[in-house]
Amino acid sequence: MGWRTVFVATGLCLLPLCGASANEQLLKLETDANQWVMPTHDYSAQRFSTLNQINRENVQHLHPVWTFSTGVLRGHEGEPLVVGDIMYLHTPFPNIVYALDLNHDGRVLWKYEPRQDPSVIPVMCCDTVNRGVAYGDGKIFLSQADATLVALDAKTGEVAWQVKNGDPAKGETMTSAPAVVKDKVLVGISGGEFGVQGRMTAYNMKDGSLAWRAYSVGPDEQILFDPQKTMSLGKPVGANSSLNTWQGDQWKIGGGAVWGWVSYDPKLNLVYYGSGNPSTWNPSQRPGDNKWSMTIFARDIDTGVAKWVFQMTPHDEWDYDGVNEMILADMPVKGQMTKALVHFDRNGFAYTLNRETGALLVAEKYDPKVNWATHIDMKTGRPQVVPQYSTQHNGEDNNTQGVCPAALGSKDEQPAAYSPKTGLFYVPTNHVCMDYEPFKVSYTAGQPYVGATLSMFPPKGDQNLGNFIAWDASSGKIVWSDPEPFSVWSGALVTAGDVAFYGTLEGYLKAVDVKTGKELYRFKTPSGIIGNVMTYTHRGKQYIAVLSGVGGWAGIGLAAGLTKGTDGLGAVGAYKALSNYTQLGGSLTVFAVD
């Protein structure tokens, strides 16, 4: 299934650095603050830049210096790359890639537009988003919506090779950015709402041949687990650790889609990523813990075999996908220097783990309104679920009311940033609750397989649907919190200039003081921002750039806004139409201080 054909074309080695292995090259490039060479900025996914020309003192003089319209209307997630003098910019479906010449205010050097069957559009869960391209070995890698991974010559845009990574007829699509690690390109698969069997696949960067494929759910040989060596909270997982937690063949349509970000620790030789919701959203149709959906995987990059796993939400009842980014930081945790992995899960808990062993160190709520579980049991890692908010406990055809967070999670894919200077994490969050009614559904290949209704609204007593927070991952506490009228659906950037940047759904690019959260600058871009803020230098000058273009899951509320779905929760923020603030349209805005 999936991997079928490899088209090999000639790929001329034109970039100066492409003689070195991609591993050495990218390990060097990721530390060069002048460029932005991978979707996560660096392998640790910290999104921290050492650039400080734009700083707390002068950021109020920031202003747009050039803009670029992408020509596409749908939701624009992700961020462009900058390699040398070229910016590589992607769009949602039809997944255009532009190479823009930074020497000439973004003149188009080449444009690649794949021909894709538009029948893939409706099998994309929530808008036709794409989270960006990756770079390695003189090539640009694009995950197309139709589940094709394509390698383009970075200099010319010509196709070097392409490979089919999934079947859209079964609801398998691609939205996440590829990751280049060593000599491999890693791509996940989307389709958790279509009953796919989620997986991460590694292709050899040279020719697109298959290196390994690791499913999230299924038999040990499919999930690449070693029953004795793959660990969960310090113990071997044992044989059939996934199959034992599913009834019958449900795992075959069991979800665990892989559509988030990938991080990598070169010293440990491990890649980290998370898996999404088990299918369906109706928990009664899939008894058991549904392993390894909702799980952090640490896998050996060479073999794909899992070293350790940690499941955040066993037997999900709320759609709390575990795909959010894994930020790697060497930092003190409860007084001890730790090789930490910090993960802000959709379920509203921020987890700090030892990334070498998978040991759980901290798990605390990063939004005080989170109510579905009282706490995480630190021995078992299991959330202590409150029966009132358990859609399984309340059962099929019953409406479970006032669950916080909503299915959007306290945070979705929009990545947080970490400043080693302050030791704090800067986190864009959603502040939304829901009613959730599961009901029985039947599976049809390539059709939505959801089985729940939901209504979303702000938490009781609050008007704001989002917050931008600073988080201490050692103590598990919020340091400061800036309320936002809408969910903050834009990835953060933090710099050595002591400024954190993020975008808002109304379209503002904002800069805030890393210490206090005080707003230092705002500019309203042409459309709502669900892209991630990035920075680079060109000819010695620092720039800040961000994609605008409202849409995605956030766009679902654009037309009419969220509504209070039930009585008894107060009539707060009953109608909040985002369309009063912004409209569709993809564009890039580049800022500088003169």
């Binding site: 209307l73 538009p118 559009i121 679902i556 009419a560």
Partner: protein
């Protein structure tokens, strides 16, 4: 064209026959609504329509039929679209791909959870379009006060 659906909408089927015959008959037919709403509460079919809508349609057409950034507001569409056109669009899908649009609605003809409850989904959306129910989860009438229902 009614495509193998449960025959609940007898009134509407008669209506479509009657339109060309006499205005009086049509006026009478217009009183036949596909939903029952009393004091803001809905019959069980209309309620089920909301559930099934949310299951299969909400991801594109937005909460409560109100549209999204990439699919139309059905409460507006149904002000002019006939029941037959609505149903044939659900069954056959629709493609609108051009310079500025990349909108594709799939065919739901093979989706049991839609085809079996298409009347209910229509009833719900029509009630929304007619403005007799608002946003959010509709309140159910109890069996006692629901009254006779085809």
């Amino acid at each position: 064209m009614i495509l193998g659906l449960r025959g609940r909408c007898v009134g509407l089927a008669l209506l479509s026959l009657a339109v060309g015959v006499s205005a009086a008959a049509a006026d009478q037919g217009q009183n036949q609504k596909p939903y029952i709403v009393k004091d803001g509460k809905v019959d069980k079919n209309t309620y089920n329509g909301w559930r099934r809508y949310t299951e299969s349609c909400m991801r594109c057409h937005g909460p409560d039929g109100s549209g999204s950034s990439y699919a139309p507001d059905l409460t507006q569409s149904l002000k002019t679209m006939s029941e037959d056109t609505f149903k044939s669009t659900v069954m056959g899908g629709r493609v609108n791909v051009g310079q500025a649009n990349e909108n594709v609605m799939p065919s739901f003809a093979e989706v049991e959870d839609v085809t079996m409850y298409l009347d209910d989904i229509y009833a719900y959306l029509k009630a929304r379009s007619d403005g007799v129910i608002g946003r959010g989860r509709p309140q159910k009438l109890t069996a006692m006060n629901e009254g006779p229902h085809g």
